[in-house]
C-alpha cells in the first residue's frame, strides 16, 4: 500500500500545477543542477520521459505537450497501436515478461478483466481525492474484488446511430435527425425493418457489418457469456440460448434480408466502403465519430441520430493503467490522473470524439455545447450525453469474455463476410471454439 498522504500531496501538486498553468507564464524549466531545490515539491528533480501507450484514437495529441508545459521535467511520448487487439497482445506479452510496458498503458474494457487477474502487477490507483470522478459502473469495472482500483476511466462508448442523410433521401426516408430517430423506433426489429425499406430502394446496404450489430446487441445483455460475478462460469455456447437468438436474428437480417454490406470492421474493404457509398447506417459510439470522419473524408451526408435500437448501449471505452514494472510509477500515476480529469477528457472528446466517463463532464456546458461539423453540425455533446444516460445494462465481462466473443465474431464473419459457411455450420464451429477456451 502506498501512503495516502503521498498520494494526496501528489494530487494536490498536480492540481497546483494546473492552476499555475492557468497563469500566462509557463513555469521556468527546472535547473539541471540537482542541488537546487525544484520549485514544485512533487515535480521530479531530473528530467524524465514517460510513455503512454494508446490504440485507435485517444485524442491525446495536444494534451501530452500541454502536460510537459505544466511539468517541464516530464516529457511524454505516445506509443500508438492501430487496434485494441494489437494493444492487448503487446500488453499481455510484456506484462508476463515483466518489462517493456509503457509507463501508462491504455486498456480497453473488453480485455480489462484479463489483466485484472494480474492486478498485483499493476499499481494501485486508489485515490480518495478521485472518488466519484467516474460513473459508478465505469469505476466498478476497474475495481478488483478486494477494492483495488487498477485503471482510471478515460472514455465510454454511448452509442447512437450514424447515418448517411443523402442516401436516406434517395431512398425516400426522412433525413432530419429528429425524424430519423423516430423512424428508427426502439427495438432491433424496428431497426431491421427500416433497413428492409431502405435496401428495397437503394443500392447501398443498410449496415456495414453483421459483427458490429452483434457488438451492439451483446452489450445490452447483463450476462451474455458467463454466469454472475464475481466468479466467471462460462455458459457452454450450445446451451447459450440468449446468444443463439441474437445470432439467428442477426444472420437473418444480414444474409436473408441482405441488409449487410458484408464487411469486416477495420479491414481495408470496410475502410474503402466509406468512400463508395457501401452502407447507410452504422452503430456509432462516441469514439467511432473520429473513425468515420477519417475514413469518409470528403464524403458529405453523415449525421447522427439520438436513438439506439433495444435501449441504450455502451460499446467499449478504455482505462489508463500504470504497470508496477515502470521506472516512474508515481509520476505515471499523476499523468494518468491528469489525463483522465474531466477537463482533459472534454478536450479529447472535442478532438477525436472519445466521450468522457467522468460524472462532472456529462453536465459540463463545455461538453453539451459541442457540435460536430462533419456530422452536419450535430450537437454530438448533447446527443451522446443523452445516449450515456440511456445506458441501463452493462454486461459482466470475465477473463474469458474476449475469447468467447471472438469465437462468435468469427462465426458471424464466416457467414456474413467470407460466405464460406452457412449459419448452422459456422455456429457449430463456434461451439467447439468456445469449448477450447480456458
Amino acid at each position: 500500500m502506498r501512503s495516502p498522504i503521498l498520494l494526496r500531496s501528489a494530487a494536490a501538486a498536480a492540481f497546483a500545477a494546473i492552476l499555475f498553468a492557468g497563469c500566462s507564464q509557463a513555469p521556468a524549466p527546472a535547473p539541471t543542477d540537482t542541488g537546487a531545490a525544484p520549485t514544485d515539491s512533487a515535480a521530479p528533480a531530473e528530467e524524465i520521459t514517460l510513455t503512454v501507450a494508446t490504440f485507435n484514437e485517444f485524442g491525446y495529441n495536444d494534451l501530452l505537450a500541454e502536460y510537459t508545459k505544466l511539468n517541464p521535467n516530464v516529457k511524454v511520448e505516445e506509443v500508438k497501436a492501430a487496434t485494441s487487439d494489437e494493444a492487448r497482445a503487446n500488453f499481455m506479452t510484456k506484462l508476463a515478461a515483466g518489462s517493456g510496458l509503457s509507463d501508462v498503458e491504455g486498456v480497453e474494457v473488453d480485455w480489462l478483466p484479463e489483466i485484472m487477474q494480474s492486478a498485483d502487477k499493476l499499481a494501485d490507483l486508489t485515490d480518495p481525492a478521485l472518488d466519484g470522478r467516474w460513473l459508478d459502473w465505469k469505476a466498478a469495472q476497474a475495481t478488483t474484488a478486494d477494492g483495488k482500483l487498477v485503471g482510471y476511466g478515460t472514455d465510454i462508448g454511448p452509442e447512437g446511430v450514424c447515418y448517411r442523410a443523402d442516401l436516406f433521401e434517395k431512398a425516400g426516408l426522412p433525413t432530419d435527425r429528429e425524424e430519423v430517430a423516430k423512424a428508427l423506433g426502439s427495438t432491433w426489429d424496428d431497426y431491421f425493418n427500416l433497413g428492409k425499406q431502405f435496401v428495397a430502394k437503394s443500392d447501398a446496404a443498410w449496415f456495414d457489418s453483421a459483427d458490429a450489430i452483434f457488438q451492439g446487441m451483446v452489450n445490452q445483455v447483463a450476462n451474455p457469456f458467463s454466469s454472475t460475478e464475481p466468479e466467471e462460469t462460462l455458459i457452454p455456447l450450445d446451451q447459450n440460448t440468449q446468444i443463439k437468438a441474437i445470432y439467428d436474428q442477426i444472420v437473418k437480417a444480414a444474409v436473408d434480408d441482405k441488409l449487410s454490406a458484408n464487411l469486416q470492421q477495420w479491414q481495408p474493404d470496410w475502410q474503402n466502403a466509406f468512400q463508395n457509398n457501401g452502407f447507410a447506417t452504422m452503430l456509432c459510439p462516441g469514439w467511432m465519430l473520429g473513425v468515420i470522419e477519417g475514413n469518409a473524408a470528403g464524403v458529405e451526408g453523415w449525421d447522427i441520430a439520438n436513438a439506439f435500437p433495444g435501449g441504450g448501449g455502451n460499446w467499449g471505452g478504455s482505462f489508463l493503467t500504470v504497470p508496477a514494472q515502470g521506472a516512474h510509477v508515481e509520476e505515471a500515476k499523476k499523468l494518468a490522473a491528469w489525463l483522465t480529469a474531466p477537463e482533459q477528457q472534454i478536450k479529447a472528446f472535442k478532438l477525436k470524439g472519445t466521450f468522457p466517463s467522468q460524472v462532472e463532464a456529462l453536465t459540463s456546458q463545455d461538453l453539451l455545447s459541442v457540435t460536430n461539423p462533419f456530422f452536419n453540425d450535430a450537437p454530438t455533446g448533447q446527443i451522446l450525453a443523452d445516449r450515456a444516460k440511456a445506458v441501463t445494462v452493462v454486461p459482466f465481462k470475465g477473463p474469458n469474455y474476449f475469447g468467447y466473443r471472438a469465437a462468435i465474431s468469427n462465426a458471424i464473419n464466416r457467414v456474413d463476410v467470407d460466405k464460406t459457411h452457412n449459419a448452422a455450420d459456422s455456429w457449430a464451429t463456434a461451439v467447439s471454439d468456445v469449448a477450447a477456451l480456458g
Partner: protein, 340 residues
C-alpha cells in the same frame, strides 16, 4: 603466437624437475587457442540457441501459464492437449500449403533469374542489386501493402482481374486463395535473395566444363540441366533447407494479412507459429502448450529438412547420371568427387 621451439621440444620431467611455466603456457596456448577463438560463437549459441531450446522443452512438460508461471510437472499432457486440438492440424495443413506454394516456385524462379543474370547483361551490378530490393522491405510493410492489394472487394488485384474479365477471388475468404496471396508476399521478398545465392554458385562453375559440353554438342538447355544444376547441388541444398526452415516458421506475412492477426475467421491462413502464438499469448494463455507446439514444430522441421536433403541429393545425382549418358563423363569426376 607461440614460439616454435617450445612446441617442438617434448617436455622432459626427468631432466627438468622444476615446473617450466613458460613452456606450459605456450603449450596451453597452442592447444587451447583454436577453441578460444571459436568459443564466442558457441557461447553465444549456448546462450541464445541451446538454452532457449532446452528451456522450451522444460516448459513444455509443465503446466505453465503466461502470467501465472510454473504450476508443476504434468508430463506429456501438453503435447496430448495440442495434438487433440483440430486447430493444430489445421495450422499444420495451412503451413505446408503456404510452404509448398512459396518455396517451390521461389526456388525454380530463383534459378531461372540467376541463369538470366549470369548471361552477359549490360549494367550487371544494377540488375543484380535490383533483385535484392524487395528483400530490403520489412515483412510487416509488405504485409500491410499486400493486405490492401488483396482486399476481397476493393483490392487492386481483383480490380485487374475484373478488367481482364476474370471473376473476383475471395483472397481472404477462400482458404487456398489466401495461401496463394501469402505465398506471393513470401516470394516477393525471398526470390531475389535466393537468386543471388544461386548466381554466386553459378559463377563458381568452371567455364571450361560448360565449353567442353558445348563442344561435345550439348544444347544450352541440356548443358543447363546436366551440368549447371548438378553442380549447383551444394548451394541448392543450402537454399532449400533455409527456405524450408523459413517456410515452416512463417509468421509475419500471415499475421499481417488482416488487422486481427489470428489467421482469418475460420483460421483459414493460420500457420503453426500463429497457432503457437495464440495458444501462448492469445485466448488460452498457456505457455506449456505453446512450448509443446514449438517442439513439435522443431521436430517437423528437422524431419522435413532431412527429407529435402535426401531428395535434393537424388535430383542432382540423377542429373549427373544423364550427363554421363551423353558422353560428358570427363565432368563426372568433378561431380562425383564433390558428392563423396
Amino acid at each position: 603466437m607461440p614460439a616454435q621451439p617450445d612446441v617442438a621440444a617434448p617436455p622432459s620431467s626427468a631432466s627438468r624437475p622444476a615446473f617450466d611455466w613458460r613452456s606450459f603456457r605456450s603449450r596451453l596456448d597452442v592447444k587451447s587457442a583454436p577453441y578460444l577463438y571459436i568459443a564466442p560463437f558457441f557461447l553465444l549459441f549456448a546462450l541464445v540457441g541451446l538454452f532457449p531450446l532446452l528451456y522450451t522443452a522444460f516448459v513444455s512438460v509443465h503446466k505453465w501459464g503466461l502470467v501465472t508461471g510454473n504450476q508443476g510437472f504434468i508430463g506429456l499432457d501438453n503435447y496430448q492437449a495440442v495434438l487433440d486440438q483440430p486447430r493444430f492440424w489445421q495450422g499444420m495443413g495451412n503451413t505446408f500449403s503456404i510452404f509448398l506454394l512459396s518455396s517451390v516456385p521461389q526456388i525454380i524462379l530463383a534459378i531461372f533469374i540467376a541463369a538470366v543474370l549470369d548471361a552477359n547483361l549490360r549494367a550487371k551490378t544494377f540488375w543484380r542489386m535490383g533483385v535484392l530490393v524487395p528483400y530490403v522491405v520489412a515483412p510487416v510493410a509488405v504485409g500491410l501493402i499486400f493486405n490492401q492489394m488483396f482486399a476481397d472487394q476493393s483490392g487492386f488485384v481483383n480490380a485487374i482481374f475484373a478488367n481482364i474479365g476474370l471473376p473476383a477471388v475471395g483472397w481472404h475468404a477462400d482458404a487456398f486463395a489466401s495461401h496463394v496471396a501469402i505465398a506471393t508476399m513470401v516470394n516477393f521478398r525471398w526470390t531475389g535473395y535466393n537468386a543471388l545465392i544461386v548466381l554466386a554458385a553459378m559463377q563458381a562453375i568452371p567455364r571450361d566444363i560448360i565449353e567442353a559440353a558445348v563442344v561435345d554438342g550439348a544444347s544450352r538447355l541440356r548443358t543447363f540441366f546436366s551440368i549447371t544444376i548438378p553442380m549447383l547441388r551444394p548451394t541448392l541444398i543450402f537454399v532449400i533447407i533455409t527456405s524450408t526452415i523459413g517456410g515452416l516458421q512463417i509468421f509475419d506475412e500471415p499475421r499481417m494479412f488482416d488487422q486481427i492477426g489470428l489467421g482469418g475467421n475460420d483460421r483459414q491462413w493460420m500457420t503453426i507459429t500463429m497457432f503457437m502464438y495464440e495458444v501462448g499469448w492469445g485466448n488460452q494463455r498457456n505457455f506449456g502448450r505453446a512450448a509443446a507446439v514449438a517442439w513439435i514444430l522443431f521436430v517437423v522441421i528437422v524431419v522435413i529438412a532431412l527429407l529435402n536433403y535426401w531428395l535434393t541429393s537424388r535430383i542432382a545425382s540423377s542429373g549427373a547420371a544423364t550427363a554421363k549418358l551423353h558422353g560428358a563423363s570427363r565432368l563426372l569426376g568433378t561431380t562425383k568427387g564433390d558428392r563423396r
